[in-house]
Symmetry: D2
Subunit: 258 residues, 4 copies
C-alpha cells in the first residue's frame, strides 16, 4: 500500500493558496496536512504537521525565507510565488546543495520554482522552441484582460527568447520582413522575434505562436481561462519534486517530452 | 430568354486581368467579348465588341482615363485598379452624373470602384463595424506574407476606422487599457483602435477582428489564400452595376446585409 | 433629469438571477426595486415595488404564469427562463395584444423572450445568416464543456437552420461535398448544413461558423466564458423592451444591424 | 570545400515531381543531376547521372520497384509516393539490410518513406502525442477542400491514434463525455478519440488538435496551403537520409525534437 504524500500549503488564505488547498484535498494520493498563513511560523507548522512537501504561494517579501526554512526542516518545496531574482535563486540552490550533501544518497531535497504552472502555457513554449528551427518565420501574439499593466507578458517574452535562441543554435539568420512603413504596427522586438500584445475585455491569459514556411503554417495556442488551470501543474510538481533534488526552475523540467 | 451580359476586360494581360477573363468565361450569364490591354484604344475596343460592362484591372496611370472613356462610350464600369484619390473619384462621379442626366430614366450608367473585391474581407469589415457598438473592447490583427512593405494593411486601417466611427456614433468612450509599460507591443493606434501586423512566410492576406465584453468574445476572421478569391466579388459587381447608376465606392453597397 | 428604470428580478435567488441583480445594481440608469423568488407573489411584488420592467430567470414550470401576471400588472417583461413552446409563446402574444388594445397609443407593454442573451452568440448567428448566401460552403463547429448531455447545441442548430434558410432564399443548391467514405466524421446534418460538436474539459460554450469560397474563408467565432456574458444583453433588453410592444422572440430584434 | 549532394528525381514530370525539381535546383548544397520519368530506366538513369540520393514521387504501381532498383544501384532513397503496405515496407527493409551488410561500416544506404513531408503536419502530430498525457480531453478537427472523398484524413487518423496510445501509456482512462443525445454530431471515434472532418471550398489541408484541462486549453493547428509546403521536409530528408541507414518510416524520425 502506498502512503499518501503529506502536503502543507503556505499562503493558504490567499486566492491561489485557497484554490491549491482545495486541489490537494481532492487529489488522489495527496493529503493536506497544514494550511499556513501570515502569523504562523513555517518551521513549526511543517514539523508539527509532518509535511513532506510544502507549496508556497506567498508574496515576494517572504517566499525566499520560507524556502530556506523548508530546506532546514527537511521538506521539499514547490514555489509559485513571484519576485524571485537570479540572486535569490542562487542562494536557494547553494542552500539545497549544502543540505543535500548531508543527506543519504537518493534522498536529497528538491525545490521547484515555476514562473508558470499552466501546463498548456509551458507546453506551448516548449513546442514553439522545438519547432522554431524548422520555420522561416515566427511571431508571438499574447492576449490578456485589459487590466494588465505590462506588455508583452512575461510568458510571451520567454517564448520569444526561446524561439530566438533555437534559431541562433540552428544557424538561422533574421526572418524575412520587407516592412518599410508602419513599424509601430509590427509589435515589440524581443531578440529579433516580433511580439504583439492584445488587451480585450473578457479574456484572461492567452498566447499564440505562429510559425511559417512557404505554403504552410503551424500555430500553437494556449488559453488560460481560470486559476484552476494551474492546479494540474502544481500537483504534478508535488508528485515529482522528490525525484529532482536541488533547485529546478521551470515546470518543463518535470515533463516527459522526449 | 435572358441575354448574357457582354463583358470587356481592361488590363487583360495582367495577372488579375487574366484571372478575371477566365472567371468571366466560366460564369453563368456572362460573355467575355473583349480583352483590352496596353496599345488598344478602350473606346474603340468596347464599341466594336458591343460590351455592356467593362472591368478595369489596369494601373493607376491609366485607370481614371479608362473610366471616363467608358462613360463616354455608354458602358458600365467595374474598377479594381488602385491609385484612386478623392479628386479622381469626384471627377468620375461628376462625369457619371452628366452622362446619366442625358439618359432615359432607369438606364443610368454605373461605376463601381472597389478597393477590395474579396467578399470575406468586405463582410468581415461590415460585421465588425456593426458589432462594435455592443462591445467594450475591439482590436484588429492583420497577417500577411513577409514581402509586404507597408503596415498595417489598408484593409485593417479601414476596419479600425469603421470600428472607431461606430463607437463614436454609439457614444462609447475609450476602451479599457491599463498598459503602463511596453506600448511598442500594443500595435498601431488607428483612431483609438489598436492594430497589429503579423508578417509570416506562407501566409497571403488575413484579418482578424476581436471584440470583447465581460465573459465573452466575438472573433471575425477572414483569409484570402489566392487572387481567385476576388472573382465572386467581381462577378457580383458586374451583375449589379446596372442597378446602381452613378458612382459607388465599395463592394459592401452591392451586398444585401439588411 | 431622466428617471431611472425601476427593475424587478424574478428568480432572484438562482445563479442567473443573482448575477442579474448585481448587474442591474451597477448599471447606469437602472434601479433594482424588487428581488422576487419562490414563495413571493409576483403581482404583489411588482405592484408594491413600482417596477416598470421585470426580468424573469425562473424555471419552465412557472415562467409563463409569471409573464401573464406581469402583463396583468402593467409591467414589461424580459424573459431568460427556458422551457417555452410555440403554444406558450402564442398565448403570451395574444395576451399582450389584448392588454395593449386597452392602453394608450405608444405605451404598449413589451415581452422579450430570448433563448440566448449573449451578444456575441446572437451576433455570430445573425452575421452567419447574412453572409451565407455569398459562399459556396458553410459548416458549424460548436465546442462545449464535457458535461453537456445534448449535441449539437441549440445555438448551433439555430445557426445551421438560419444558414440553410438563407441559402434556400438565395437559390443556392447543396454544398460541394465529395465524401464517399467516413460520413460519421462529417457531423450532424441540420437542414443540409454540417454541424460538429466538440466536448473538451476547460471550455464553456463556443461556436465557430466557417464559410468558404474559392481562395477565401470567413470565420465567425464566439466564446462565452462565463454567465456574466449574458448581462450586457439582458440590460440592453431592459432598456429597449418599452420600444417593442407585444411579443419579441430573440435578442437580435433589439439590435441595430441595418 | 563541401561537395554538393547529387540528386535524381523520379516522377519528375508529375506535379509533385516538378515542384521537387524546382526546389532541389534552388536549394543550397544540392545539385539536380537527373529527371527520371515514365519510359526511363531508373538504374541506368541514376548510374549515368552519378546521383547519390533519389527522390521518388511516382505512383503506387512502380514506387516499390524503384526503391529496390535504387538500393541495388547504391543510391539513397527518399520516397513520397503513396500506396505502400506493411508488406512492401518489410521487403524494402529486408533488402536494405542485405545491401548494407555488404557495405563498409557507416556507409549504409538509407530509405526514408514519409506519408507526409509537411513539417507543420508532422510537428503537430508529434506535439499532440507528447502533450496528450497531460490533458483530460483531446479531440481532432481536420479541414479540407470539398473534393476529398475520404473522411477523416489519414493524418487525422494517425494523430488520433497517437493521442490514444499516449493516453494508454500514461494510464489515462476514457475522456469525460456526458453526451446522451446527438452522437452523430460528435464525429468519428478513432481509438476513443473523437475526430471531426470539415469540408469547405477554399481550404486545402488543415488540422487542429484541441487539448483541455480544467480552466485551460492547448490548441495545435497546422495549415497546408500549397504543395510547396512539402519541400522543406523533402530537402531535410535528402540531407539526412545518409545518416539513417536502413528503412525509416516517417519524417519525425529525422527531426531533432528532444
Amino acid at each position: 500500500m502506498t502512503d499518501k504524500i503529506r502536503v502543507a500549503v503556505l499562503g493558504a488564505a490567499g486566492r491561489m493558496g485557497a484554490t491549491t488547498c482545495a486541489a490537494v484535498e481532492s487529489a488522489e494520493g495527496l493529503e493536506l496536512v497544514a494550511r499556513v498563513d501570515v502569523g504562523d511560523d513555517v518551521a513549526t507548522a511543517v514539523r508539527e504537521s509532518g509535511a513532506q512537501v510544502a507549496i508556497d504561494f506567498t508574496i515576494p517579501a517572504v517566499t525566499e525565507a520560507n524556502v530556506h526554512a523548508l530546506l532546514d526542516a527537511g521538506v521539499h518545496a514547490v514555489v509559485g510565488a513571484t519576485g524571485w531574482t537570479d540572486e535569490s535563486r542562487a542562494r536557494v540552490a547553494e542552500h539545497a546543495a549544502q543540505v543535500n550533501a548531508g543527506r543519504p544518497q537518493g534522498q536529497g531535497l528538491g525545490v521547484v520554482i515555476a514562473p508558470n504552472f499552466g501546463l498548456s502555457a509551458v507546453l506551448a513554449m516548449q513546442f514553439a522552441a522545438k519547432a522554431a528551427r524548422y520555420f522561416e518565420s515566427a511571431e508571438v501574439v499574447e492576449l490578456h484582460h485589459p487590466n494588465k499593466v505590462d506588455a508583452p507578458s512575461g510568458t510571451a517574452r520567454h517564448t520569444a527568447a526561446a524561439i530566438a535562441a533555437a534559431r541562433r543554435d540552428a544557424g538561422l539568420g533574421p526572418m524575412p520582413d520587407a516592412t518599410e512603413d508602419g513599424w509601430e504596427a509590427r509589435g515589440a522586438d524581443v531578440d529579433g522575434v516580433r511580439v504583439h500584445a492584445v488587451r480585450l475585455r473578457g479574456l484572461v491569459a492567452h498566447e499564440e505562436i505562429l510559425l511559417g514556411n512557404p505554403g504552410e503554417q503551424l500555430v500553437i495556442r494556449q488559453d488560460s481561462f481560470d486559476r484552476v488551470s494551474f492546479m494540474p501543474g502544481v500537483l504534478l510538481a508535488v508528485r515529482e519534486v522528490a525525484n529532482h533534488p536541488g533547485l529546478t526552475v521551470g515546470l518543463e523540467h518535470l515533463l516527459d517530452l522526449a
